[in-house]
Assembly symmetry: C2
Homo-oligomer: 349 residues x 2
């Protein structure tokens, strides 16, 4: 797993709420720029999740077709177009691969976490059972590789199979660090680099590869994807303690109940008093939690500035992401990708 | 999913115990013919299951390195050699891919089935938990695709990604038919074609592809693999009701307790009395089982000849497998592959 580079100087970055923020719908704006491609991608997704085994499209539809932001496939399509790709439907098919890999991961994640909510609906495992979620995840993962093979680029296959292995490594590392407050911040960053940023990086890198751009551009887009992936996950981890439950579309406090080690927890633990640390040891390490504990956790996070620190870190990664795009000529798509970098942070404010 | 062709005339086939049987160690004999390649394959397996995330090789070693018969990789290596492959290590690397896909499937299967035993040891999920088994399965699956991509043959990628999707479909179909005695025999055969025979078929077909043999030979080897896969699974399903537990290496009666619809159950149900059918409805459909029920199930199977019928069906597939090899010139390897076809059936007698 490639270690994520780690911004260290938090002082240079303004707090997110003072950023010159793009509108909240930056993602919708970018999606609008590639609307036809995105519609085509949705068709490919629906077409390729079909199977004679009727439970497969039914379960897949619950998650894939029910929406979601399509952030990753939008990135593949937008980066390909920004790189001048105009030769056909490869970028659309590969965007669908990326979404299938993401969906397979979500299905398996929800089983591993025992999650009950996903995107504001009952999770697939809650409706169809863990068994079906594991197996349909395997199916979608296989479909992704069938689609990539049909595309025929070994470079793309290498990028996405490497990403898939890295995702699994990140997920296992997350499992290993669960309930362990001795986890270092660097190790936490390795986890989110693997479980989240690797697929963002691959999704963006593929855009340059289908457009036959030089390796330096593919690398720049990989860096862009890594950085927004890191920002995205940091904000996600902050939202798990800070969001309105309806907006979040999943249960607030899930990470707390599972004893997941995220930056808000590490910041509150290391920035807290001895009494605070005893609280975190009991609730996160020993998994002894009462009904009031989540509320107290939020109080401690507010007092230690743990959420703000997490969002500032996310903002740093968003700046890295934008910096990775400077070598591309100005265009509406580049502006859209820049705005999406800010969007990943703004959604947490 | 391609439907398995279905032998229908059981009368023409001798009962397995009267077959001109090969020695019990036919698989060991074939393995001996490709001993150096198999050692190399084991090295590739151990090398590629490594990861910086230490739990991954530890869990993988529990299953992959602990042995198992290596039936599928032996088939890839032996078919490649029979087809005259001599150009390098591709057959060895692809045999490792096949074993990784198989192992990933086993890990996920054991989670889905809640199995406690595998190959005579505590199953990986029993030792490391369901979560880790799901995620390490994903990792091994990704590793398989990384290895295939490094091999670089799109034909091989197509064969194995198609097989992976078919396996998942077969597993989901098995889940759907669970506890459902109205499942037809044809549907049961679709299940085992998908969950088991598809990977055997792919494992053998790849042997012809790496050796650059004509499509007809690849197809013949795919047919051989399909047929021994079907035979293998039929015998497995018979053994779940008939084996000595120590020999089986897993818990006898697992299928019964899970309400799995297999040919022994269908044969005993359809060949039984009204009272028998009431028993099967209670135990398999309603999942109401007492401690004595497994023993009574075995009595009913003996009375209806359900196990013998299943083994005869397996023997038919073994004959199909051998017939698929007639177009290849006689050689020690062809003899070995013929003997393995019989071995798949003999291990049930």
């Amino acid at each position: 797993m490639r270690a994520a580079s780690l911004p260290t100087d938090l002082q240079d970055v303004p707090a997110p709420d003072s950023l010159d923020a793009p509108p909240d719908d930056a993602l919708a704006d970018l999606a609008a720029l590639v609307a036809d491609d995105l519609l085509a991608c949705n068709r490919v997704i629906v077409q390729h999740m079909q199977s004679e085994v009727e439970l497969i499209p039914r379960l897949a539809a619950h998650l894939v077709a029910a929406g979601g932001k399509r952030l990753r496939p939008i990135l593949t399509i937008a980066t390909a177009r920004m790189c001048g790709y105009g030769g056909g439907q490869r970028h659309v098919n590969l965007a669908a691969c990326v979404e299938f890999i993401h969906t397979a991961t979500l299905l398996h994640d929800d089983v591993v976490d025992g999650s009950q909510l996903r995107r504001g609906l009952a999770s697939a495992n809650a409706v169809f059972g863990n068994e079906a979620s594991v197996l349909v995840g395997d199916f979608l993962f296989s479909r992704a590789f069938q689609l990539m093979t049909a595309d025929g680029s070994l470079d793309v296959l290498r990028i996405l199979s490497d990403a898939a292995a890295t995702i699994a490594e990140g997920e296992v590392l997350q499992l290993v660090t669960q309930n362990d407050l001795s986890t270092t911040e660097a190790r936490y960053l390795d986890v989110i680099q693997g479980k989240t940023a690797a697929l963002f990086a691959a999704a963006c890198q593929v855009g340059a590869v289908v457009a036959n751009r030089p390796a330096a551009e593919a690398l720049a887009l990989s860096d862009y994807g890594t950085a927004i992936g890191m920002a995205f996950q940091l904000v996600d981890d902050a939202l798990d303690y800070a969001a309105d439950q309806r907006m979040l579309g999943k249960t607030v406090g899930d990470d707390f109940r599972e004893g997941k080690i995220t930056l808000p927890v590490l910041a509150a633990y290391h920035g807290g008093t001895a009494e605070d640390r005893a609280f975190w040891c009991r609730t996160i390490e020993a998994s002894e939690q009462t009904d009031d504990d989540l509320e107290h956790a939020l109080v401690l996070m507010a007092r230690t500035g743990a959420i703000d620190a997490t969002l500032r870190r996310a903002a740093l990664y968003a700046e890295q992401a934008k910096a990775a795009l400077v070598s591309f000529p100005p265009s509406a798509l580049r502006r859209g990708l820049v705005a999406v970098a800010d969007y990943t942070v703004q959604r947490g404010c």
